[in-house]
Symmetry: C2
Subunit: 328 residues, 2 copies
């Protein structure tokens, strides 16, 4: 199993990426191709002892910045780590691509270079969220902000396969994110999507409201990329603000300070509720290849976890399973 990792992707690249890769090759049975500015990547690698035969470097002279316009950057920088990396899996010289870089650029390059799975028109990014029960799979969290109802049906089908194969959930349920439970709720787009899903999507349990995302009422929750992106970002921001407020409050009271120390490990656990980097990356589904997007602020641990999640996808041959579901 060979995975291409974008060495230049994320706010702390290449340092954090290389550190995560080193952890990954020590823990998992996997070979890594690091794509990026060769001398920078090799300088980082030189800091570690690791099984040399498991890590290869492929030079890509250009870097796409986190804030660059995605499609423009992909067109202009054909020698970027993202394009070069995806080319490698297109040519079947490796099995999957992992990047913490510019999400839009990864989506655009993957769609363009790899093409789409048969039966899918647009890509979507999924995300495994921790819930009170176990996990839920939220899709789309940002690839397609102008979807048609059919696109959400395709996402639902792919999500079902992902939840079954990769998350190991039996007969995963599918819910449509909406602002009320009844099928008459929401705007035109979501009402039309609801109707289509009732006809086409197995295990569709209807609408799920946003306050039930973290209770685990549905195994898979389907939404458009704009709403999904807002949902995960507000969750992240809320947990961070709550933590900041907690620290501020705790400092006001000695008793609270003592309490906080006693509870530290428990509080860390709660924080994970919205800290999805703990659970690996965000799979880009719908493209004809295995692509994993990691958080732009990715730590070495997040990179390692994204690689682990990718290994799991490859072990379960997720691409073939999706192709089979979509052709039914």
């Amino acid at each position: 199993m060979k995975i291409v990792v974008d060495a230049m992707g994320g706010d702390h690249a290449p340092h954090a990426v290389v550190a995560g890769v080193i952890q990954a090759v020590k823990e998992f049975d996997v070979k890594i191709i690091l794509v990026g500015v060769q001398k920078d990547v090799e300088a980082e690698l030189a800091r570690y002892a690791y099984p040399k035969e498991r890590v290869e470097v492929v030079h890509a002279p250009e870097v796409i910045g986190m804030e660059e316009h995605a499609t423009v950057a992909i067109r202009k920088k054909r020698a970027s780590s993202i394009s070069v990396g995806i080319d490698i899996i297109k040519e079947a010289r490796a099995d999957a691509f992992v990047s913490a870089g510019n999400t839009g650029a990864v989506v655009a390059a993957s769609s363009f270079i790899l093409g789409m799975l048969k039966g899918v028109e647009r890509p979507a990014i999924g995300l495994v969220l921790p819930t009170l029960k176990r996990f839920s799979f939220l899709i789309d969290v940002g690839a397609n902000t102008n979807p048609k109802p059919e696109h959400l049906c395709h996402s639902a089908q792919m999500a079902g396969v992902y939840a079954r194969e990769v998350l190991g959930l039996e007969n995963p349920t599918i819910g449509l994110l909406n602002i009320g439970e009844e099928s008459t709720k929401g705007g035109d787009f979501v009402k039309e999507t609801h109707k289509l899903m009732e006809e086409r999507v197995p295990n569709f349990i209807g609408n799920v409201e946003a306050n039930e995302v973290f209770t685990g009422r549905a195994d898979c929750i389907i939404c458009d990329g704009f709403v999904g992106n807002v949902l995960i970002k507000v969750s992240e921001g809320l947990m961070e603000s709550a933590a900041a407020l907690l620290r501020r409050e705790i400092k006001k009271s000695f008793l609270a300070m003592a309490g906080a120390v006693a509870m530290k490990s428990r509080l860390q656990h709660i924080k994970k509720l919205a800290d999805y980097t703990e659970y690996g990356g965000a799979p880009l589904l719908g493209v004809n290849g295995v692509v994993m997007i990691s958080h732009g602020r990715s730590s070495p641990k997040a990179i390692k976890n994204a690689i682990r999640a990718t290994v799991r996808e490859l072990e379960h041959n997720i691409l073939a399973a999706m192709a089979s579901e979509l052709s039914r």
Copy 2:
């Protein structure tokens, strides 16, 4: 100052509503008209000692359920507490209407009976959110799920007035909720809205991402009613799930249990971050009258706070201030 309160609105009506009204008339200089099924409301009132001349009951024989289809219910139940209550302010027999009932029905009845403010096409529901800095005003959280870009511009103008007059913020800044900071981010709708706001909205600071909602980066955050509703519901749900998980974790460790007791009041404070009932109701803006929507699960305290927020709106003559801003 006289405020009509929907006695039958909310999951715990009329009990919680009447209890909240009793608290309000004791604390604020306000007269209340309770609209609802007379014998039920009077039975609740009989349980309290309160200044009798400050609370009046108006009979409305019909009740609109929390899950009823809004426009159908409003058409069929002309004698509901919502319609009768709004009629009272239409006839200028009172100054404002407060309801914790079916939100869609309150929006529909208000728009239909009161009409819109000049220059506004659609209503929008605002919400005062606590942030790390102080407060932000989020609009729309659920009235208009199929808005046009112009509607969001009107919401922005009204939000600016609300933040200045009611929240006391000087030169409040206006941000557009989007999935990136650059003006090129998001789908067609939000891009067009961004362009229009740049031309029309004073103090527009551009896009604000969802992870900055609770940091207080913008005083007013503008979004469509679907996205805003998802945003507040996921925030509520996340805080509840975090609290549930915290309780579960705490029980696993004696030390953590002791810590939790020591920190209890501090943790309560954090919970308020997403517990917007603490900060009063959600004003329905754009209609030609002062209407306040309270959370469907409203406690007596939330009802009291919604009345307090309404008093503040009336003291600052919010309707005239908005009409003046919109006619500029």
